[in-house]
Symmetry: C2
Subunit: 249 residues, 2 copies
DNA sequence: GGAATAGTGTCTTTTAGACATTATGTA
DNA sequence: TACATAATGTCTAAAAGACACTATTCC
């Protein structure tokens, strides 16, 4: 039967006790590294481990709102507005040792931010370079390593065919800033001139501000400044270099 | 706090009564039309309306297994193996008039099948051409119209850069059969020769069987038969014609 | 034979990739 | 001045799109 027809003889107190939570993967670029926001767990299980921010969904609360609320409560990071999208739902029996937990993960892209501080239930909160996590220097609670891997793959894929790369930089940015986003997220080097040609020939990706200014990241000649254009999807796409090389910075 | 830390004083019977369900969007191509499998609801709310197959997740059951189980129970469609992927989770408060329902939708691609029959809780079960649903001839229960729209967009997008189009045809197929899949899903016409060139130049998409046979769909000269290759992602992608024209068959 | 599809080949346009060269800012 | 990045331009290779022409099968 399609969803939401209660089993015969439905009684809330007899209903299987699913817990419903939202987790949030906050990605940003700090010091030339794709980074993720983690909190240190204060309670068992996994007390002392690092984990994604997240928490229980209130009975009348949209899951996306839970994600935004927990981000503020646990990391004191208050951002006026930011892109937040659903990643996917993780609900394997046994992913939490105590009970059946259905957790929907959300994904946020933010420009570089002031360092977060710990909030309510989290002992500490800070950004980690992804490189350090995949190198095994940090292990995450629950299945959060899988969630993070899915989030990174989503980010790598989405900047190909949407304008979301611009969500990683502050509003007036140079083409070099934008190129550095692609390089950090993909872990590759791109030819500056070819990149600029592609971005400028993609309608609606960026809009020139007709002024010049310094890059947000590096020195050298100052370039023309741009802001985000009207487009949300890219035609044509900015595709990842084909496959194999992993040129690092 | 990261997921799965029970509220202080946790007591299952006091926990907010979330219902957790799985819905399944079964897409196939019938009579040259992209089609979806629906069941007629036997119970309130929306009794008599058409809806996606789906139902409650058991407390120890993976959500994907629920989707497969409900498909058999409600439509008597038993398929040995088929591609099933998570689409996204729908949990807005109020999407079900009676209680808070968190529903994860799954997406399946199948070749044309024998007509389903109604199962357990469904009055009837049958395939509908998408064209008839979007034309407003059928209205769906709950937010299933939104789920279906998301599913179709996922399918249209995924056949661009994966080999999933082959999941819509039976194993020995001609390049014309495969092209018809793209044409039905995208609602466009493709140049047969250019399409064949692209498919054959994409490593691992199809493997020649070195025999000839009739098309699964139409008459004319019989062509060479192929089976699915080893690849799952396509390099380069088979991109949708740019934008505007909606050439119909 | 007529109609429909399969298959081969060619031509043009567009886009991507590599890279050389000059310009302009900072340390 | 040394160095890093910005910006422009050129050449080549790859891919997409349009389309002409021949081949084969069913009716």
């Amino acid at each position: 039967m399609p969803d939401a027809v209660a089993p015969a003889g439905y009684d809330p107190s007899a209903y299987p006790p699913f817990a419903v939570t939202s987790d949030i993967v906050v990605l940003t670029i700090r010091g030339g590294e794709l980074s993720v926001l983690l909190v240190e767990r204060g309670n068992e299980p996994y007390a002392g481990s690092w984990a994604l921010p997240g928490g229980f969904v209130d009975i009348d609360e949209p899951g996306e709102e839970t994600a935004r609320r927990e981000l503020v409560e646990e990391t004191r990071l208050e951002i006026s507005s930011y892109h937040l999208e659903q990643l996917r739902t993780y609900s394997a029996p046994g992913r939490d040792p105590r009970m059946r937990v259905v957790s929907t993960a959300y994904l946020a892209f933010l420009p570089d931010l002031p360092a977060p501080v710990a909030g309510d239930d989290a002992a500490r909160a800070r950004f980690f370079a992804l490189r350090d996590i995949t190198a095994g220097e940090v292990t995450l609670a629950f299945d959060h390593e899988q969630i993070l891997a899915d989030a990174v793959e989503r980010a790598r894929s989405k900047i190909e065919y949407t304008t979301l790369a611009a969500a990683f930089v502050e509003k007036p940015f140079t083409l070099g800033d934008l190129r550095r986003v692609y390089e950090c997220v993909w872990g590759t080097r791109l030819h500056p001139s070819n990149f600029a040609r592609k971005v400028l020939s993609t309608p609606g990706f960026v809009r020139s501000l007709d002024v010049r200014g310094a890059s947000q990241f590096e020195g050298g000649r100052v370039g023309a400044l741009y802001e985000t254009g009207d487009a949300t999807v890219l035609h044509p796409a900015i595709l990842r270099p084909t496959g194999d090389e992993e040129d690092e910075r």
